[in-house]
């Protein structure tokens, strides 16, 4: 217990970094994921193919590789630099790398939601003369969105847990890196480990409950 109290300020600062990465990740991955799903259901074969390739490649690449490549490859070698301050640069590389990775899963969750809407709904929409955009925005998406709340919640929870992989992208300020540095000094400490897990659960569990409750409340009864 003593070591938890002693290192708590460091760990809390590290955890705050996880929260910051997760905040950027949530916003950016949602935007990217929505663009991707629009590409994947669009009437343009090229865009469909591009979306499919992106999703399949990114989904099957380990996040560790994505983040390590963002740092060493994209930034150091190819010159993608967000800031001259090294720590700020790493933060954005890790956050955007995580977003690009999570976007593939957001896209798949949204697409699965679109797939839960029965064909009859789209056919009915078309038969009363709605255009593609009208049937998408007025008939399909409102129903798809409800079916998608819980899976999206799961994707976001996984994303929050994945912020710990920031270490692989050279961002050694997050709680996993702080925990490792602490363990180098103290050895494995059960209080520190449990403390961090509880911190993550405090972040993820409300999302699970909220999205579960919402999806039950808004469920389309069929």
């Amino acid at each position: 217990m003593d070591e938890l109290i002693k290192y708590a300020p460091d760990l809390a600062l590290g955890f705050l970094e996880n929260v910051k990465i997760a905040a950027v990740g949530a916003v950016v991955s949602m935007i990217l994921g929505t663009i991707l799903v629009a590409m994947r259901v669009s009437p343009t074969p090229v865009l469909r193919a591009a979306g499919t390739v992106y999703v399949n490649v990114v989904r099957n690449t380990p996040l560790t590789l994505v983040l390590a490549f963002s740092a060493l490859g994209l930034s150091d070698r190819l010159g993608l630099v967000f800031s001259d301050v090294p720590l700020t640069n790493s933060f954005w590389l890790v956050s955007l790398g995580l977003s690009a990775y999570t976007a593939a899963f957001v896209c798949e969750a949204l697409r699965a939601g679109v797939n839960t809407v029965p064909i009859g709904q789209a056919e009915a929409a078309r038969s009363i003369g709605l255009t593609f955009m009208q049937s998408l925005t007025m008939i399909i998406l409102p129903q798809a969105f409800r079916a998608v709340i819980a899976p999206l919640g799961s994707v976001m929870i996984a994303m929050i847990k994945n912020t710990t992989v920031a270490t692989a992208g050279g961002y050694l300020a997050d709680s996993a890196a702080v925990m490792k540095i602490t363990f180098d000094q103290t050895g494995a400490s059960i209080p520190i480990f449990i403390g961090l897990i509880i911190a993550f659960m405090v972040l993820t569990m409300p999302i699970g409950f909220l999205t579960g409750w919402l999806s039950r409340r808004l469920a389309v009864v069929r």
């Binding site: 669009s42 999570t102 064909i119 079916a147 819980a150 996984a158 847990k161």
Partner: protein
Amino acid sequence: MSASVLFDIPGPRARLRNGLLTVLGVAAVAAALYGVYAGFDAKGQWAAEIWLPFLKWNTWQVYIFPGLIGTLRAAAAASVLALVFGIVFGLARLSDHSWIRIPAGAVVEIFRAIPLLLLIFFIFYLFPTLMGGGDYGFVALVLGLTLYNGSVLAEIVRAGVNAVPKGQAEAAYAVGMRKNQVMRLVLVPQAVTAMMPAIVSQLVVLLKDTALGYIIAYVDLLNTGFNILPAAIFGALIPAAIVVGVIYVALNMALSFLATWLERRSRRSRRSTTPPITTGPGPIESGVGSAAVP
């Protein structure tokens, strides 16, 4: 529902619009590809001397294959253990005895909620304290993967058994089977068919997560291919990342195709009364179906 149901067979104006969109799409994709090409070119990443080493057998023998074997070893061990863990805890959660059901539920929920990397770090530092000296990279990676993925698999197993129509169990009890027999002879065999795609998808997640071993210096594909190889072959970082990435994607896509094939087969099969478990709202949405969560 396939995307094509969303729109009619296009008329002249829609065809024009689609044609325009296609042109724009091609332009955008081409611009993106050219951007990557030019970016690489500007930094000399197409130079032959950093790509040619990948045509040499020695590069594969010394760096890539040992790492790949490390990755597959960890993935194989963790898959088997996670399946065992998943079956045991999944069925334990279905037990009629609360003293089995509740602890099993707690274990599954907790390990599902822990960030995997924290779990691996913790085991990596805990084992030397408990067991004395040694190299625990493999143990930490496999145990971490087992506990996390096993917990997810436990939920899949539970959902799979629950998804078998109630009438099946009732009929089995009615013909005089015991609980054990109902589970073993009626529910589990039908559930297995329905669970197969979800299980394989989770194994893809497991295989991908072996790359976390890179962070604790376990000798895996990412470590030998992306860490040691570029140090030995000067300047070959980007080619190494691409080669390693292609190997991971190919491995995982092969497994994913297996999942899709199993799903299609089980949908065709009439022997099971249970619909396949896929992504969707409900208690098991995470890590299940085609969009398994990382």
